[in-house]
């Protein structure tokens, strides 16, 4: 999943290659859609944010060569635009509801981070429970690191926090998961089950 575009795609788009832009558009549309869906299932907000972020790549293509990590930059732009749209929608609702969370940040869905189905069931239950204790930001950090495969520096840039804070956030999340387990020798059990 991480290799689906040519490595020089950003250079091609930067030089005005329309076909390259088309390939980049389709690729990131799917990838950012998956990311955005973690925060909302409103199709209009998603489509608007996707198109706005991807259009910005073309209109700002001349500046691309100066951008150090265009990939991270695009994810970050998309997140910014989507959050802006979602916050605006939220305000309308908020007038009638008592505001409990001042930041009003869109929430990374609690049901979006899961445990693999083929994980041994006792372990899976415990991990699944532990996941409930994570915050939206912790879930998002895990997503960006382990699903999107980004580095700590990139995760930090997208979340708008320092690299040091990202290390803390990530360690706290992972140790929280680890806490709930005393890991037995599961790998062997899993495979032996296949033989019976």
């Amino acid at each position: 999943m991480y290799n689906s575009l040519e490595t020089d795609i950003w250079t091609l788009v930067g030089s005005g290659d329309q076909d390259a832009y088309g390939r980049l558009y389709v690729f990131y549309y799917k990838r950012l859609y998956n990311y955005g869906r973690k925060f909302t299932d409103d199709p209009v907000a998603l489509e608007d944010a996707l198109q706005e972020a991807l259009l910005a790549v073309w209109t700002g293509r001349e500046r691309l060569p100066q951008i150090d990590k265009p990939h991270t930059y695009l994810i970050s732009t998309f997140r910014y635009i989507l959050f802006k749209k979602l916050r605006r929608d939220q305000k309308v609702v908020r007038l009638t509801a008592v505001a409990t969370d001042d930041a009003g940040e869109p929430e990374f869905g609690i049901d979006q981070l899961l445990i693999r189905r083929d994980t041994e069931s006792a372990l899976r239950d415990r991990l699944q429970q532990a996941l409930q204790t994570l915050t939206s930001r912790q879930r998002e950090a895990i997503f960006l690191r382990f699903y999107e495969g980004l580095s700590y520096e990139e995760v930090a840039a997208i979340l708008g926090i320092s690299v040091k804070a990202t290390y803390k956030l990530m360690s706290r999340s992972l140790l929280q998961l680890k806490e709930t387990l005393s890991l037995p020798v599961l790998t062997i059990l899993l495979l032996l089950r296949g033989l019976i």
Binding site: Y2, D19, L54, K178
Partner: protein, 337 residues
């Protein structure tokens, strides 16, 4: 980023330290990356850490996310609408100028130069090709946004631009899984050494290994055309499996559960025999296996075997078979304990 084990500090690590270590995480996130090679090497030198490392790996590997895919065609539709916006903003009603002859001549010269350059460099710019080495798979979107997953030690080649209505063609060596977008107007062809698959909108697996070519159809409809002649065209249905052995020109036609043949793309095998698992590892990791007890080859392993990396798969095998694995260069002997 941490890189390498200065002062041998990893030797003192427990599960909590490993799971929080970015360089260790890289191994899980990029199983084919350079950190993987480093860690495999480190594991050989620290066999006492096997359990700790495998627990830490398991914890990180168990995390996954709900995956959301946009509706079929949504991306292309959005692209079309974006292009419309680009077109309307890019030409803000330029004043109409009289065409001057010299301007026309200059334009003609420019066009001529451009087309000359185009002809000279045509090969580099119109074809894309991708190779995978042993132990590596590659996921690609074709220009029509059809999907292709290339298995290890395989290569694929296709035109960079596919015009609407033009025949879509892909050349394949090795093994790949295809999910083809159906467009009414244009044909989709996959060429291998011994046959051509004509697709009518579908997903399927082609494997050209050990001299034989094998096609398994998951859904939809495809037609096979054989290169050498001798066989008539063949229409396949979902679940069909065709094996062609060009040496004897023999054609085997069976039915199967396609998921069994396409599960490699998720780096796992389902309900396989030991023989099939070993064959997979040989093809994808460039190893040769010797089974000291050949009757083991037919033994069935129920459930899923993960093939993410060679070491994990070997560890699983040795446990299941209760056997020792003896490595000698690229040969691995399996000796019952």
């Amino acid at each position: 980023m941490t890189n390498g084990d200065n002062n041998g500090r990893y030797a003192g690590y427990g599960v909590p330290e490993f799971i929080c270590d970015p360089f260790f995480q890289d191994w899980i996130i990029h199983p084919q990356g350079e950190s993987a090679a480093w860690w495999q090497d480190w594991m050989i030198r620290h066999p006492e850490k096997t359990t700790t490392v495998s627990d830490a790996r398991q914890l990180l590997q168990s995390l996954y996310f709900e995956e959301h895919v946009p509706e079929e065609g949504a991306a292309l539709q959005s692209l079309a609408s974006a292009r419309e916006k680009i077109a309307t903003t890019a030409s803000p009603g330029r004043p109409i100028r009289k065409t001057r002859w010299w301007a026309a001549a200059a334009a003609a010269i420019v066009i001529l130069c451009v087309s000359l350059i185009y002809l000279v460099t045509v090969d580099h710019h119109t074809q894309l090709s991708y190779n995978t080495s042993y132990g590596e798979t590659l996921s690609l979107y074709l220009p029509d946004s059809s999907r292709l997953i290339l298995n290890a030690h395989s290569s694929v080649r296709y035109g960079k631009k596919w015009r609407p209505g033009q025949t879509r063609e892909v050349w394949l060596e090795g093994e790949a899984w295809f999910d083809v977008r159906s467009t009414a107007a244009s044909t989709f062809l996959v060429h291998t050494k011994d046959l051509t698959v004509e697709v009518l909108g579908t997903s399927f697996d082609i494997r050209g290994r050990r001299g034989k070519t094998e096609v398994v159809l998951q859904s939809g409809k495809i037609r096979l055309r054989f290169t050498g002649g001798g066989h008539a065209d063949l229409l396949m249905r979902p679940g069909d499996r065709i094996i062609l052995d060009p040496a004897t020109a023999a054609l085997t036609h069976t039915t199967t559960e396609p998921e069994k043949y396409t599960s490699w793309k998720d780096r796992r095998l389902t309900d396989a025999t030991i023989g099939e698992i070993l064959q997979y590892l040989e093809d994808n990791y460039h190893k040769t296996f010797i089974l000291e007890d050949p009757s083991l080859a037919d033994r069935h392993i129920g459930g899923v075997i993960l093939l993410d990396n060679l070491d994990d798969a070997l560890f699983a095998l040795s446990t299941v078979l209760n056997a020792n694995l003896i490595h000698h260069q690229d040969t691995i002997t399996i000796r019952p304990r």
